[in-house]
């Protein structure tokens, strides 16, 4: 290599080095620009819905808030699949790119509050009549007098059914049974088997088809609780292996393996495609039936030996305590759960605000659902329902117990012995 060439190469490399070294400065300059007050304020909101109508509704609240504040906000919605929600959200929140606002599942509430990832909302919600929110609904999301997330959905589970399949099997509908007072788990089992025998279509599909894995608790809770059992309680009692819980889980197991009337594990038959006569849903799922090829209806969950015991799926929205603009995000949470926002959402996500819940408008808020259905399967259930169990160690409980629950999904499973094993896992983490 001659000297002239060498000098040229050295100069080129020096230039390259300068460019490489100046890159972090260029990036840090970019970060500074995003913090500048000029231009729209970026806000990222994490949810587990990807429904475009629901996202548009949420965005309309953001724009309403921006207008009220006299600023511009550019909202980006990040939809994370339900089964991966807690995992991905936690990762993002520990990094520097976490969302400013995010939905929180009721089962994860204690862990998220203890982690310090949720900002206190006491000031943010002050302007939006916090006394109107039911104290029961706020209990899970509060600690030491501070509120860390506000429930936007207090949504009971109910039975969605395919009217055409019930008619084909010559059966009354669940709503008719409910009106007669005979809509209980025994009737549920009988109609499920009759439909399978007479039409060849599955009688029941578990919630979102995930009742054997990601939604085990959602699937079993309505049965277990209406039989008088439970999973674990806030005061550390483990009840999943009580006689009542065992009876309830045995009923479900019998339906899957003896009656063969429930879509079994691994089978992808779907209620919404007409491949099952019943499933468990919430009001936010009803929009999936707007263009369905069959007539459908909805009824409350069947009653057990201890009467009706509605299960409520609760979801809240909180602000990232490490976010770029915590104060603004906290106020936005308050706005998104104020009376007018909650009223606009009520047809999809039933409210925790007493004034909206008790209004006539709430009963007419979902065009696909009659007032009577809304009253019987939603409003009444909210009053008497309970949320799923939660715990600060829920992630560990969920993962470890799922491996034991897996043993249930074969024809010869010993239900009592398996639930004893699950109880041992619950006890290990909750006591």
């Amino acid at each position: 290599m001659n000297l002239k060439h060498t000098k040229g190469v050295v100069r080129a490399l020096a230039l390259l080095l300068v460019l490489v070294l100046s890159m972090p400065m260029a990036f840090s300059q970019g970060t500074a620009e995003t913090k500048a007050p000029a231009g729209p304020v970026p806000m990222t909101i994490a949810t587990w819905t990807s429904n475009p109508d629901q996202i548009a509704l949420l965005d309309s609240f953001v724009q309403g808030f921006a207008k009220e504040k006299g600023i511009e906000i550019k909202a980006t919605f990040e939809s994370i699949p339900f089964a991966e929600y807690n995992t991905k959200l936690s990762l993002e929140l520990q990094g520097s790119s976490g969302p400013d606002l995010f939905w929180v599942l009721e089962t994860a509430a204690p862990a998220f509050i203890q982690s310090g990832l949720l900002a206190k909302l006491n000031d943010g919600m002050k302007a939006y009549d916090p006394a109107d929110i039911s104290a029961d609904a706020l209990q899970l999301w509060s600690k030491g007098g501070d509120v860390y997330a506000i429930p936007f959905s207090t949504s009971p589970f109910f039975i969605l059914y395919n009217k055409d399949l019930f008619a084909k099997a010559g059966l009354n509908t669940p709503e008719q049974y409910a009106a007669e007072g005979t809509w209980n788990w025994d009737t549920f089992r009988t109609v499920s088997k009759t439909i399978k025998d007479k039409t060849g279509v599955w009688g029941f599909q578990t919630v979102d088809g995930q009742g054997y894995d990601a939604r085990i608790l959602h699937n079993l809770a309505p049965m277990v609780r209406s039989y008088g059992g439970d999973f674990w309680t806030d005061d550390g009692k483990v009840l999943i292996n009580s006689a009542e819980s065992v009876a309830a889980v045995t009923l479900f197991h019998t339906m899957v393996y003896k009656d063969a009337s429930v879509v079994p594990p691994g089978n992808q038959s779907d209620f919404f495609a007409g491949n099952a006569a019943m499933t468990v849903g919430q009001i936010s799922r009803v929009s999936k039936l707007n263009d369905s090829a069959f007539a459908w209806g909805l009824a409350p969950m069947p009653a057990g030996p201890k009467g009706e015991s509605p299960v409520i799926g609760q979801a809240a929205i909180g602000a990232n305590s490490k976010g770029r603009n915590v104060e603004l995000a906290s106020e936005l949470v308050g706005y998104m759960t104020n009376k007018s926002s909650v009223a606009a959402m009520a047809g999809i996500w039933p409210p925790a605000r007493k004034s909206v819940l008790e209004s006539e408008a709430f009963l007419a808020s979902n065009k696909s659902v009659t007032k009577e259905q809304m009253q019987r399967a939603v409003a009444d259930s909210i009053k008497s329902g309970r949320v799923l169990p939660s715990h600060v160690k829920y992630p560990q409980i969920e993962v470890e117990s799922k491996m034991v629950f897996d043993k249930l999904w074969n024809a010869n499973a010993n239900v009592k012995a398996i639930l004893d094993e699950v109880a041992a896992i619950y006890a290990k983490h909750t006591k």
Partner: protein, 300 residues
């Protein structure tokens, strides 16, 4: 004076050489070496991803790991998975390469079909097979078996079948790549040696085991190492098809690391698992490297 000029010239060349590799080295240090070192540091901490807490605990994670029944299970599952994937992959890919390297008609078409899964997305492959392997009458595989009067199992939800199903789908996915590598070696075998053996009366069996296989041994060794390491790092197939179930029967080590780190948020314990996996893979590689010359006659 001349010596000094030479030294200066060498130094300048050394600087230029370092400058050339600097970008690559910077990338390697930032994106490979530092994270790798972090894993070793984290493995000695009680570190929670959700709470963002970390506390130095020395070798406590390794002590817990030794007593963890799920770790033992995941280790055994990993060995079962590798013991299934590696021989199946090697035997079938070698046989196919020998067949396709023979210049028979239709080999281009067969080669294309075999290579197709390699270029297919791993996610799409797993989702399609999850659909095909549904239990009861719903699954196309079981529907096919029912033509012969066979009642297929619930492939991915029965403990005895889930691992086998995952192994077979994984072998089919990656077979094409090894076929391609073996074909390169088969086509480069010296024809005169094979011809001489034939003239000396070597039959097909002898020709394969005494002539062709020794000639192919360097490639076989390389493919074996790559396939074993690949099988120990399996993640996507397990995540999408079985989620480690049923009853943890497909919970291999990498998936257990994911479970601990991102489901249970115990990053410290997960890092200890990662360190153990790293050491196992390192040990296997060293063993193969040391023994290669005893097995492979033609390696330089």
């Amino acid at each position: 004076m001349r010596m000094q000029t030479l030294k200066a010239s060498h130094r300048r060349e050394a600087v230029i050489g370092w400058a050339f590799i600097a970008p690559q080295m910077a990338g390697f240090i930032i994106f490979v070496l530092l994270p790798l070192a972090s894993v070793f540091v984290y493995s000695m901490q009680e570190k929670n991803l959700l709470f963002g807490t970390s506390l130095f605990t020395g070798l406590e994670n390794f002590r817990l790991l030794a007593k963890d029944p799920l770790f033992a299970k995941s280790l055994v599952n990993t060995l079962i998975f590798s013991a299934g994937v590696v021989p199946l992959n090697l035997v079938f890919s070698l046989l196919l390469a020998l067949y396709l390297g023979g210049g028979r008609t239709g080999t281009r078409f067969v080669r294309g079909i075999i290579f197709l899964p390699v270029v297919t997305s791993g996610v799409a492959w797993a989702i399609v097979w999850k659909y095909l392997l549904q239990g009861g009458d719903a699954g196309p595989v079981n529907a096919f078996l029912s033509f012969f009067g066979i009642t297929g199992p619930n492939w991915l939800f029965e403990k005895g079948w889930a691992m086998s199903s995952v192994i077979v789908t994984r072998v089919m996915k990656n077979l094409g790549m090894n076929v391609l590598i073996f074909m390169g070696a088969v086509l480069n075998m010296p024809g005169d040696v094979i011809e001489a053996a034939r003239i000396d009366g070597a039959k097909r069996f002898t020709l394969f085991f005494k002539i062709k296989l020794p000639l192919l041994m360097p490639t076989v060794m390389m493919v074996t190492i790559v396939t074993i390491i690949g099988s120990m790092r399996v993640f996507d197939t397990i995540k999408l098809m079985t989620d480690g179930g049923p009853e943890g029967s497909t919970m291999v080590m990498v998936y257990y690391i994911y479970h601990q780190a991102f489901r249970m948020f115990d990053t410290g314990f997960a890092s200890a698992l990662a360190v153990v996996l790293f050491l196992i893979v390192l040990l296997l590689t060293v063993i193969q490297w040391v023994t290669r010359k005893r097995i492979s006659y033609y390696e330089n």
